[in-house]
Structures are given as C-alpha cells and as structure tokens.
C-alpha cells in the first residue's frame, strides 16, 4: 500500500468519522428525546407538512378540563434552537379538532420567539391571545402553561418562558396569572 493510498484512506476515514459525529451529536438533540415516548393518542390534527420532522410533546386541555394532557406529534424541524422553538410554538397554537381542545384562544399567532443564553425564551404572541381569551383563572393558567411547558419540555436548553403580547410585556392575559417575568416549567398542571 503506497503512502499516497494510505493517506487517502486515512483522510476518508477522518471525513467519515466527522460525518457520523455530526449526525450523532445533532440527531439526539432533535429526535431522540421523543423516541422513548409512545404516542399518547393518535393525532387528530392535520398531517404535518412534508419535510424534515422531529417529535415534540404538545399540551391540550384534558378531558376533565382541570389539567393539561401531553400529546406527541411530529412537527417541522427548525434550523437552530430559536427556529425550532418557533416551530414548537406554532405547532402548539395551531387549530386542533375534537377530541383535542387547545387552551390557547383561536386566532392566536406567533409573532416571534427569542432565546437568551441564560435559557429564557420570550414568546411574542398576537393580541388574540388576550382579546379572544374567555377568562377564568384556570383557563388562563392552562393557556400560559401550554406555552411554557411546550418549550421547556421539548427544548432542555429553555428553562423558563415569558409570554409577550404584540411585542410588549403584559401583566396578565385575563387578570390572574403574573406574566411580568419568565415562568419555569410546571408539570403540576399536566395530568
């Protein structure tokens, strides 16, 4: 085996190891968290658009109305953490059909999502999240923790979430839950 051939094989091996490493490092971040979880229920939502997918756990109002329930779904892959966060929120607030019920008012859209190095996510929603909100402490709690838990459960780098409305900080959505600072994951509101 000539020295030249040896060098070529070594170079190809290094490239191959590099490619495997990239796939090995990135893939778990995007997909492996979802792998151990079995789907809680068949998804009654519209089929995900074609393209690369990841599995994410989204939250909807449980049958008794008192808590949220988690549902695994394929959602669009986002390039980078911020884009992925935006895809998660967009999937979370997308309209659903029975038997799922969303705690986020219909018509709400995501304006922007920002992540900080400190693990805080800022989710800027359209004004419908307030103007179309039906009120009630429980409704408001479930709306807020739908968003908070959707990000903190699916993106470990996100430790807390603050909801903004129309680009501005708000006191509450409907007079109850303090939104003046980021809220941490809270699974006590999930079944």
């Amino acid at each position: 085996m000539s020295t030249r051939r040896l060098l070529t094989i070594t170079a190809l091996a290094i490239i191959a190891i590099g490619i495997v490493s990239i796939v090995w490092i990135r893939a778990p971040r995007l997909t492996s968290r979802a792998t151990p979880r079995a789907a809680a229920a068949p998804s009654p939502t519209a089929p995900a658009p074609p393209g690369r997918k990841i599995k994410a756990r989204l939250f909807y109002v449980a049958d008794d109305g008192m808590r949220l329930t988690g549902v695994e779904r394929d959602i669009a892959y986002g390039e980078g953490a911020t884009e992925q966060a935006r895809e998660i929120v967009a999937a979370q607030i997308a309209p659903v059909v029975e038997p799922l019920v969303s705690a986020v008012p219909a018509g709400t859209s995501v304006r922007a999502v920002f992540l900080t190095e400190g693990g805080e996510a800022y989710v800027d929603l359209s004004r419908e999240v307030m103007s179309a909100h039906p009120g009630g402490t429980l409704n408001e709690l479930l709306t807020v923790y739908t968003i908070v838990n959707a990000l903190t459960v699916n993106l470990p780098a996100v430790t807390s979430v603050q909801v903004l409305v129309d680009g501005k900080e708000v006191d509450t959505l409907a007079g109850h839950i303090d939104l003046r600072q980021p809220l941490a994951k809270n699974l006590s509101w999930v079944q």
Partner: protein
C-alpha cells in the same frame, strides 16, 4: 321670640298649610282648613278648635299687620284639624309633616378605660341602623327619612379619645369620627320601649406613655415593645382587625360569562358585599372592599388598599372558566413563587433609618411583588380552613387547594387567598352560582373560616 316664648307668624302657616285666616270686627281670628275652624282671641291663651278649648302657652300677639301665635299652636290646635300628622319637636326646632320616619337621636359617650369606650346612640321612635367602617370613621346609617339630631351629635372629644366626635354625615347617617388609637369595635342593637339603642363598644391601642413626652431614644436603644390590643368586653384580643375583600374584575373587565349572560364581575361584587355585611354585623371588624361598584380597579390598587390599611387578611373572590363545559367545583388558590424569588424575599432584611425627632429604627424592607412570600404558610392554613368550611356546603373541585403565580396575591403583605366559587362555563354551576341560597352558603362558609382562622391566631383561641 317674645320673652321666653317662641312664636310663629300665622301668615307663614297659612302659606305652608293652605289655611284661611279671617279677622272679625271684635278682633277674634278664625283659622279655617277644609271646613274646620280654630278661633283665637286676643289676650287669651286659649284656642277654640272645632268648638273644643285647648290651652296655649301664650295668647296670640299682633306685630303690625301680622298675627303671631305660640309655636305650640301647631301641635295643640292646628294638628287637630289638619288631615296629615303634624309633629312639632321644639328642642330640635323641627316640624315633621306626614308619616315620615324622623327619629330623634341622642348620644352618650363613656370612656371605660384608656383602651375602651362605649358610645350609645338612642333613636326614638325606633329606627334600625347599619354600621360600616371606613378609614377614619364609622358610619351609622338609619332606616329613616331624616334625622332629628343636633349637629354635632357629640361634641369634639379631647385627645386621646378613641372617638373624637359624632356628626351628621348625610340626612340619614351619622359619622362617628375615630381617634388615632382606634383599633376595632363591636356593635349591638337593642330595643328599649319605643327607643332603638345602638351601642358601639370601641377598643384602642394601649399607649405606652400618653402623658409624659419622652426624649428621643438614643440610636442604640432597644425599641419599645409594640402596642398591644387588650382584651375587652369579655372577649379575648383578636389578631384580626381589618379584612380586605377583593371583588374580582369590574367595569369593562367582565371576567367569565355564563351561557345565559351571568358575569363574573357581578357575582363577585354581590358575594363581596354579603361577606362584608356578615363580618361587620357579627364580628364588628373593619372590612374593606377593593371595589363597591362596577368599575375596573387595577390589580396593584387592590393589593395596595389592603397593604396601606394594614389589613390582616386578603380574600379575592372569583368565578372560574374552563374550555370544557363539564369542569366543575370551587377551588382555593394561594400564591406561588419560584425558588429564586422566595430566596430574594427572605434576603431582604432590615434597614436602619432615621426617625422624626431623632434616633433611628429598623425598617424591614420587603419587595412589593414578593410580600406574600412571608405569609404563605398562614395563607395555606386559611385555605385549609376554607376548604373545611366549604365541605358539604359548596361543591369543590377535584383539587380544591392549588398554588399559582397569581398577580393579585403576590403583593399582599398578609395572609391571602383567591377563591374560585365555581365554573360559570358549566351550565349547572352557573345556575348554582347565581342562586341566592348558594351565595349565602358560600358567604357563611367564608365567614366561618375567618372566625376559625382568627381563633388560631388569637392567644388562647381554639386550634
């Protein structure tokens, strides 16, 4: 006035009561009303009323072209021929025409000890009253058309009196002005013959040294013990003097709606008013409502009212809403904070600040938004008592006590809970919530829980 006798002009009575007055050639004056007559004779303290003689304290008197008659002419003569009741009250210079309820009020104030006093208000004829407390005075509202009372009813009392005076606040209400040492009161109402007697037993803070002004203590001196509320009137000292009741939402913030249009803001106000009424009537405690009408009150103002008035308990009333129409049951919520916030609050500590007149004292600094962190244990204790009292009276949710980052509770510097009375989004619950009997059961439950909570805080109270 002529001498000691008070006279009224017959002309004025003629206009007022639509009388006819005729003077004959012999000088007699005939007063007529709907065919009935009164004949007055100059220089005679008598009147002939439909042929019957009645005495007057003085004879009529002529002043130029006008006839003057003793004021008693109204009650002794005119009242006999007039078709509407006339009630002349000379001491208060009041003439009551018709069946108006105008009780005559008298007041008596007794200082029982440096920290206790009794104010007795008699209403004759009997008139029921309601007693409410505002920041610096107690309002006694009478079920009457007007009041027959001197103003002020009780002259200004010298400092350091617990009650500084009693005055007429409006045509049917008295204001009992309170001194700076006032701490609480209890009201009782009894009937004595034709008199309704209202007794306000007032307690105050004990002054550590009221008579001797002391020089300012040196900066390093130990602070004097805080003033104590002494037991009074056969009751043990209460650790609760003021309760803030927050009627959730209001104005353009209507809260949750039921399918048939019931609004959360109306329900919370109704229940808040009933809670206030029962506490004031039965416990004599001071009750503050964050709103007493249909208006939007910012959340911080609600808590500020409680904090600035040093309320001992804060109860926020709400009705719940769910995306699922079958969700049901009442719940009691306490504030929730993340660990960092709780640690920040506990690290607040005290700061030494100068005081007026020299010296200094330690002022405890508490971040406004974290004030509730110091009271969470008591808030949860009160929530448990509420749950016990709601049991069997108010349907409860599957998790009747919860915690949440509730904006209105976080700044409350006293034990504080938020009560969700039920779900307006559930048709059956909506009917229940708007039902009088259910509201009264909820109000009674809240009242009973407050009594038990007070007992747990009071030395020697039941645990």
């Amino acid at each position: 006035m002529l001498g000691d006798q008070e006279f009224v002009a017959l002309d004025d009575l003629t206009t007022l009561f639509q009388l006819t007055v005729r003077e004959d050639t012999l000088g007699a004056v005939t007063v007529s009303y709907k065919g009935k007559t009164i004949v007055l004779t100059p220089d005679q303290a008598l009147a002939s009323v439909s042929g019957r003689l009645v005495s007057l304290p003085a004879p009529p008197s002529r002043n130029g072209r006008r006839w003057l008659v003793p004021s008693e002419f109204i009650s002794r003569a005119l009242a006999l021929i007039y078709d509407t009741r006339l009630d002349l009250r000379k001491p208060s210079r009041l003439l009551v025409v018709g069946d108006l309820r105008v009780p005559r009020l008298t007041a008596r104030y007794e200082s029982l000890s440096p920290s206790a006093a009794r104010l007795t208000i008699d209403a004759n004829p009997r008139a029921l009253s309601t007693v409410t407390q505002d920041a610096d005075h107690i309002t006694v509202k009478f079920d009457a058309d007007a009041l027959d009372a001197a103003n002020p009813l009780l002259p200004a009392q010298p400092a350091p009196s617990l009650v500084t005076g009693v005055r007429i606040a409006d045509p049917t209400a008295l204001a009992v002005d309170l001194g700076p040492r006032f701490a609480g009161f209890k009201s009782t109402s009894t009937t004595v013959d034709s008199t309704q007697r209202l007794v306000l037993d007032v307690i105050g803070l004990v002054q550590t040294d009221a008579s001797q002004p002391q020089p300012a203590p040196p900066a390093t001196a130990a602070q004097p013990a805080p003033p104590e509320i002494p037991p009074a009137f056969g009751q043990s000292a209460s650790a609760i003097h003021t309760i803030a009741i927050d009627a959730g939402h209001g104005g353009d913030d209507e809260g949750v709606h039921s399918a048939d249009g019931a609004k959360e803001k109306d329900l919370t106000l109704t229940v808040a008013r009933r809670v206030r009424a029962i506490i004031e009537a039965r416990l004599g405690l001071r009750v503050l409502l964050t709103r007493d009408d249909d208006r939007n009150v910012p959340i911080d103002e609600r808590t500020a009212l409680a904090n600035n008035n040093k309320a001992d308990l804060f109860v926020s009333l709400h009705a719940n809403g769910s995306m699922r129409p079958t969700t049901t049951g009442a719940a009691i919520l306490c504030a929730a904070f993340d660990k960092d916030a709780a640690q920040a609050a506990s690290a607040g500590g005290a700061e030494r600040l100068p005081t007026f007149g020299g010296g200094s004292r330690d002022i405890e600094m508490v971040p406004w938004d974290l004030a509730q962190t110091r009271h969470l244990a008591q808030s949860e204790r009160f929530a448990e008592l509420l749950q016990q009292q709601f049991h069997d009276r108010v349907p409860m949710a599957s998790r009747p006590i919860d915690r949440a980052p509730l904006r209105v509770l976080e700044s409350a510097n006293m034990p504080a809970v938020l009560i969700e009375l039920g779900y307006l989004t559930n048709a059956e619950q909506a009917k229940l919530l708007t039902n009088d009997a259910f509201q009264n059961a909820a109000v009674q439950s809240i009242f009973d829980a407050i009594v038990r909570f007070r007992d747990t805080l009071t030395p020697g109270g039941t645990q």
